[in-house]
Amino acid sequence: MRRLALLVPVALFALPWVLARHQLSILTDLLIFGLFALSLDLLMGYTGLVSFGHAGYFGVGAYTSALLLLNFGVPVPVAVVAGGVVAAVIAWPVGYISTRARDIYFAMLTLAFAQLLYTVAYKWRDLTGGSDGIAGVPKTGLWWGAPGLASPTAFYLVVLVTFLMSFLLCRVLVRSPFGRALLAIRENERKFATLGQDPARFKIAVFVIAGFFAGLAGGLFAPFRGFASPETMFWVLSGQGLMMVIVGGIGTLVGPPVGAIVFILLQEILSSYTEHWMIFTGLVFLLMVLFLPGGIVGATRAWLGVKGTA
């Protein structure tokens, strides 16, 4: 299994030379939203914090990157990392307040703050362009003076490298003592506290880290699609992130990207038949929650008899 897993990144690097233009664009989308779902699972799966407002940080990343690229022409990697950093900075106070509440209250608070960010993006016309958003975001080069990443393959490779690096970082993170502490909080917060640790500090930290990776995904999204709009912060996207995590497999690193693949391909196929595809994706999600709580990866692992955390 492990050897087979190594083939996946190799295949991902080879794919641009096989796929058609439209397919490559879908694959780029998959990786961006896979990263977004992955960052959400750090909260949901590994710490037991279900955020209903994770799109807020994706959107902050998208706006940051869009503004930097459009106004200052900074290189793409700089804009993407800046997106992550600004998202993390905004996630800190939200995390500080939200993690004071538990379970359901936490979910409601994160949703409320994301809607607040959405309202700010909607109303602060001078900065964000209001409901029109920011259009015409350029794909600049890898560094100052370097040629722009106009070719779909070049931009795909940037997205792929960001995705793989984030994936590895998250893997290191969840296997580190810090990651073990998160699992301990998920399993029994009270016990964790009686061992002399402060759960709040860990929860805020993971909230900021998850915000950072969501910001990275948003930072990639803006130049890829060429725009940033309030929709990138909307609750619908937060909900779609949750669906990807659940469908793929909560509490795993592979699951969320798998969920993103299923979700986006489902949407791609359904939307060619009906504009109301949301009804069917909602139905699929509902059935998954009812009958397959471990998601695709969870079910596959149970079937193969494999155990593991990453």
């Binding site: 949901m44 279900v50 307040i97 004071r100 509440a101 538990r102 379970d103 359901i104 209250y105 979910a107 409601m108 608070l109 949703l111 409320a112 703050f113 809607q115 607040l116 309202t119 109303k123 609750w235 909900g239 949750l242 669906m243 659940i246 109301h276 949301m278 009804i279 994706t281 909602g282 139905l283 999600f285 509902l286 929650v289 009812l290 709580p293």
Partner: protein
């Protein structure tokens, strides 16, 4: 500030609080009895508004819609509980939230299919279409009626829970469902009826709101987010908390919208943040 303006603001705040109360009290009741946060509650409110508008069009009478639409919404809610929620009560609470989220998506999109994307307006009943003079201010009588109705619903609910046998069973199930079951309460039935009843209440709120706000897509998520703030401030599972929370949020939005139109939303969150810092389980909620 002149007196007439103050009166108008107070009434506006009361109207908003009344609508928030009708939805949030159901959210709170469902949590108290089923330990579930119903994400779809806002969509039930929206469905009430659309059904209400359609009922007015068909019957030509607002009062008919007020009687017909809420039970339909309630029946759909009870059906949802019966078919899905009932089977996953033993799972961690977040699965129930996710399930109702999925249901909300399906319902929202279905409403779009059934009624189309444009907003639907409803006329208030002829008796209430005028305005009333009040302490120097003129105010639409329909809105006064809305305030009166939400107060009436609040009082009726409190009396129902405190004074009737059914209310007693509801409180018993909320407090300790296993014990209530041992003492002969049909807990499964109570849960289904409570969920349906609370959805009917949200539907009632929707029917009442339609002549004022029209029925439009997105009204569900708007109201559910506000209601989450209400129950976070007031505390889940408490009718009093829902009342106080609605009043605070209604007031914050009304005066915030007047003095600081750009940051009206923010004021609501500042209040919520302040409450959370001192009482993370809400003003009336119980620490778990």
């Amino acid at each position: 500030m002149p007196l007439s303006l103050l009166v108008e603001h107070l009434l506006n705040a009361a109207v908003l609080s009344g609508l928030l109360f009708l939805v949030s009290v159901g959210l709170s009741l469902i949590f108290g009895i089923l330990r579930v946060v119903n994400f779809a509650h806002g969509v039930f409110y929206m469905l009430g508004a659309y059904l209400g508008v359609t009922a007015v069009v068909w019957s030509g009478n607002f009062w008919v819609s007020l009687v017909v639409a809420p039970p339909l919404v309630g029946a759909l809610g009870a059906g949802l509980e019966l078919l899905t929620l009932r089977h996953i009560y033993r799972r961690p609470p977040i699965y129930q939230l996710l399930l109702t989220f999925g249901a909300a998506l399906i319902m929202e999109e279905s409403i779009k299919v059934l009624w189309g994307p444009t907003a639907r307006a409803a006329e208030p009943p002829p008796v209430l279409s005028g305005s009333v003079g009040l302490l120097g201010a003129t105010y639409p009588s329909y809105r006064l009626f809305l305030i009166a109705m939400s107060v009436a619903v609040g009082v009726a609910l409190l009396l129902f829970l405190a004074r009737t046998r059914a209310g007693l069973v509801l409180r018993a199930v909320a407090q300790n469902s296993e014990m209530a079951g041992c003492l002969g309460a049909d807990v499964r039935l109570v849960r289904t009826l409570a969920f349906g009843g609370a959805c009917a209440l949200a539907g009632f709120g929707g029917v009442m709101a339609a002549p004022m706000t029209t029925a439009y897509l997105g009204m569900g998520i708007g109201v559910i987010v506000d209601c989450f703030v209400v129950v976070v401030i007031g505390g889940l599972g408490s009718i009093g908390g829902s009342m106080i929370g609605s009043l605070i949020v209604g007031a914050a939005q009304t005066w915030g919208g007047y003095y600081l139109p750009e940051t009206a939303m923010a004021i609501m969150y500042v209040v919520m943040g302040a409450v959370l810092l001192f009482r993370p389980w809400g003003l009336f909620g119980q620490e778990e």
